[in-house]
């Protein structure tokens, strides 16, 4: 019964938005239902002259460029090859997500989180960054890692806790990290990475680096105190940091209407004296341009910038969640099929003759084969050695911990069959 009651709000909005008679050229994001779209890339430092912060966009739902001047600017730094790389990454990510999601359903991996529906905000932003920018992510940014070069094997070693997992099998699946790609290892607590990014952005400024720290988080995480302290610290202390909020409409089951009363996340930036913009998060060009310009502003003026990317969580929160209890099938189907950022970019690339079905099938098939083959190998792969149980708590293992480990070793030796999962 409870879950039915909770359904009321999304149902109402679904009816309102998802009527087939209304042919939309722009999406209506649940995080800012009344926001209009704009062709002007404005980082607001004062409340705009309209009731709701507008959404910056470049491409419509049909993959058609409707903001030529911004598009031209984007293409000055985004060549065809990069654009194709972005798209390929998006479909590789989607393919990997589908297989690993199903692998969890089959009991082959303990947990998984898909990135469905948010591919454009992840990959559009990743494409606008440099290799030396520092990433502080939440947990739904696998596309950022993938775009920067995290391989399918690296993803799967983490998810299956193999001995090759950089995190030594200590964290749940999807808690990736990479030193070479400058992606700080993911942690589960929400929003903790936000003030850390402010500190990193401050360190970057002190080091005279022309880089930024970019911090990803959701609109739910932005309710945590960490978010507010992070923005205030970054503004006051002039950190070179981009705060990128993925407003995907839901924090597990909680819709944005239960999350905040104000105008989304973008409006909060102004209160802290931070230049802020709202963009269409399913429009990779808009995300790319906003991040590129935010980067420029941050590195040149030594200031933080806030970007609220409007998007929609196309999957369950995680494999432990069943979104059908609080979202209708209609709503989900509508977003997955009609509002899908991958379809938008595909239509664009097809029109531009940069992509065709043959390419599509080849990338999807190759990825599928690779992930499936990896699935078999990582399942059999050696797990992290038991000795790693006590390393890295400190730089050196304390005496007390050495003693505790000896007991564990003795037990494992005496009852090997009981601890066979222990490796």
């Amino acid at each position: 019964m409870l879950s039915r009651v909770k359904c009321i709000r999304p149902l109402t909005s679904a009816k309102r938005f998802y009527s087939k008679s209304e042919l939309l050229t722009t999406p209506k994001y649940p995080g800012a239902v009344n926001a209009k779209f704009t062709k002007d890339l404005v980082f607001h430092n004062a409340v705009p002259n309209e009731p709701v912060f507008p959404i910056f966009h470049i491409m419509d739902l049909q993959g058609k460029i409707i903001n030529q001047s911004s598009y031209k600017s984007v293409r000055e730094t985004l060549d065809d090859d990069t654009l194709v790389k972005m798209y390929k990454t998006m479909i590789q990510l989607e393919t990997m997500d589908t297989i690993l999601y199903n692998a969890q359903r089959q009991g082959r991996v303990s947990f998984y989180m898909t990135n469905y529906g948010e591919e454009a905000v992840q990959i559009g932003s990743a494409a606008a960054l440099t290799e030396t920018d520092e990433i502080f992510a939440q947990y739904r940014e696998a596309g950022v890692l993938m775009y920067r070069g995290f391989t399918l094997e690296e993803f799967m070693n983490q998810c299956f806790s193999t001995s090759k997992d950089y995190g030594k099998g200590r964290q749940m699946p999807v808690h990736y990290g990479s030193k070479s790609l400058r992606v700080q290892t993911i942690s589960s607590p929400l929003a903790t990475q936000i003030p850390q990014a402010s500190g990193a952005g401050y360190a970057i400024r002190l080091s005279d680096r022309k880089d930024v720290a970019i911090c990803y988080f959701g609109e739910g995480a932005a309710s945590e105190g960490d978010f507010h302290s992070a923005l205030n610290f970054a503004a006051v202390l002039k950190s070179q940091v981009i705060f990128l909020c993925r407003n995907n409409g839901y924090a597990i089951s909680t819709p944005t209407s239960d999350q905040y009363k104000g105008d989304g996340i973008v409006a909060r930036g102004l209160g802290y004296g931070i230049h802020s913009i709202r963009v269409d998060g399913n429009d990779p060009f808009a995300v790319y341009m906003a991040v590129r310009e935010a980067r420029k502003m941050s590195t040149e003026k030594h200031v933080p910038v806030l970007i609220e990317a409007m998007t929609y969580r196309g999957g369950h929160h995680s494999t432990s969640d069943d979104a059908s209890r609080y979202r209708t099938t209609n709503e989900l189907t509508y977003w997955r099929e009609q509002m899908n950022p991958i379809f938008r970019l595909k239509k664009f690339l097809t029109n531009e003759k940069l992509w065709n079905e043959e390419n599509e099938n080849q990338v999807r098939d190759d990825t599928r084969k690779k992930v499936l083959s990896l699935l078999t190998s990582v399942e059999k792969a050696e797990k992290t050695h038991l000795d790693e149980l006590v390393t890295d708590v400190y730089d050196q293992v304390p005496e007390t911990l050495k003693e505790q480990k000896k007991f564990v070793d003795a037990m494992a030796k005496k009852y090997p069959e009981a601890y066979s999962e222990g490796h």
Partner: protein, 389 residues
């Protein structure tokens, strides 16, 4: 007079003692005190000496240039040395730019500039998170919480983030450069929110170190080690000691070992363990005990986590008796961990139960502070009782 029984060292004498005890031992009901009273008034303006003792192998104040300074000055010097040595050492917190409410950061902004010594907004959660981010970039943030009583908004950042940063990344990343300072403990008029000793909360967190200092020489050497240490460290500073009498401190930087307790007075009858400002109280209690013929071994634990099990158990194995005292509330204070480990490791050498003399299980009270704290008389009475058991 006291019925002073020498502690046994072997199983046989131990068993004999236990049989005897079972018939006539003093119960450990703390309300049953003996009738002997001590003239405590001579300890009202007691001239402390033991707390200023130092281990010559650790520190040299005789053959190097020295000066006199109080704990506040010593802490300031430590930060100055660290900032001179490494330009990535940065000091920040609430009100630190003008020198801090306790004046520990005085002159650092003038000397090192506004980028390296700066005020933050009033937000402990932000201070901790910001510091972690800087440390992740290879900096050495020295973050100040204005009072340890106000550290709890930062608890999540310290417990879930700083402490786990290295482990969760498989050593890809760490925040080893992070040092957090916080004034702690009773000051005589601090009430609930300017008196707390929160070390036990953080002692339950693998991945951070917790260090406390008892005097200026210790404070400078320990804080410098905390800053140098490649792990996140919480350095607690008993605020009551900031302006206590000055002592001789080497001019240059020096480093005292972490995770190493210090025996500041050798003794044979009973091991007395404490840390921070409680060491001053314990010195008085130990002197009182001396008056009635009890020879205490006094240990400053110095590092609460990871703690020096060896020094403690060696001492208790020798004396067979142990009193632990801390200002933090009794239940689940760090004394509980010490007591549990001691009974596990020294069981056959123990002549009496290990006793804790602690703050009460109440919020820290203002008007009844004198009754709340484990003062010299309470510690003295319990030392007597442990020896008389």
């Amino acid at each position: 007079m006291l019925n002073l029984v020498r502690p046994g060292r072997n199983v046989l004498s131990h068993l004999g003692r236990r049989l005897y005890s079972s018939q006539s031992a003093v119960s450990f009901d703390r309300t049953e005190l003996d009738s002997d009273k001590i003239d405590f008034k001579k300890y009202l303006n007691f001239n402390h000496e033991i707390v200023y003792n130092y281990t010559k192998e650790e520190i040299d104040v005789e053959n190097v240039p020295t000066h006199k300074t109080n704990m506040c000055g010593a802490i300031n010097e430590a930060m100055r040395h660290a900032m001179e040595k490494d330009e990535k050492a940065v000091v920040f917190g609430e009100d630190v730019a003008f020198g801090g409410v306790f004046r520990c950061t005085i002159d650092l902004m003038e000397k090192f500039g506004k980028d390296r010594c700066f005020n933050t907004p009033l937000c402990e959660q932000g201070i901790a998170g910001f510091a972690i981010g800087m440390a992740a970039m290879g900096y050495k943030p020295i973050a100040e919480f204005q009072f340890a009583d106000y550290i709890y908004p930062a608890f999540d950042q310290i417990v879930n983030e700083a402490a786990k940063y290295r482990y969760r990344s498989g050593n890809l990343f760490n925040v080893g450069g992070l040092t957090m300072r916080a004034p702690c403990s009773a000051v005589g008029h601090g009430g609930h929110y300017h008196s707390q000793s929160p070390e036990a909360f953080f002692a339950h967190v693998p991945g951070i170190k917790v260090v406390v200092a008892r005097n200026p020489v210790q404070a400078k050497g320990l804080l410098l080690s905390c800053i140098e240490d490649d792990n996140p460290v919480l350095f607690l500073e008993p605020k009551k000691l900031y302006r206590l009498s000055a002592s001789t401190v080497p001019d240059d930087a020096y480093y005292l070992p972490l995770s190493k307790a210090e025996i500041i007075k050798k003794g044979t009858h009973v091991t007395v363990i404490g840390w921070a400002s409680q060491m001053y109280v314990l010195e008085e209690a130990v002197k009182m005990a001396e008056e009635v013929g009890i020879d205490c071994e006094l240990i400053d634990l110095r590092t609460i986590l990871p703690w020096d099990v060896e020094t403690v158990i060696n001492s208790v194995s020798k004396t067979g008796r142990c009193v632990i005292a801390h200002e933090a509330p009794h239940t689940n204070g760090f004394g509980a961990e010490l007591a549990a480990t001691i009974q596990e490791k020294c069981f056959l050498n123990l002549e009496a139960p290990v006793i804790r003399v602690c703050g009460l299980d109440t919020p820290f009270p203002l008007v009844h502070e004198k009754y709340y704290v484990p003062d010299n008389l309470k510690c003295f009475e319990m030392i007597k009782k442990v020896v008389n058991y």
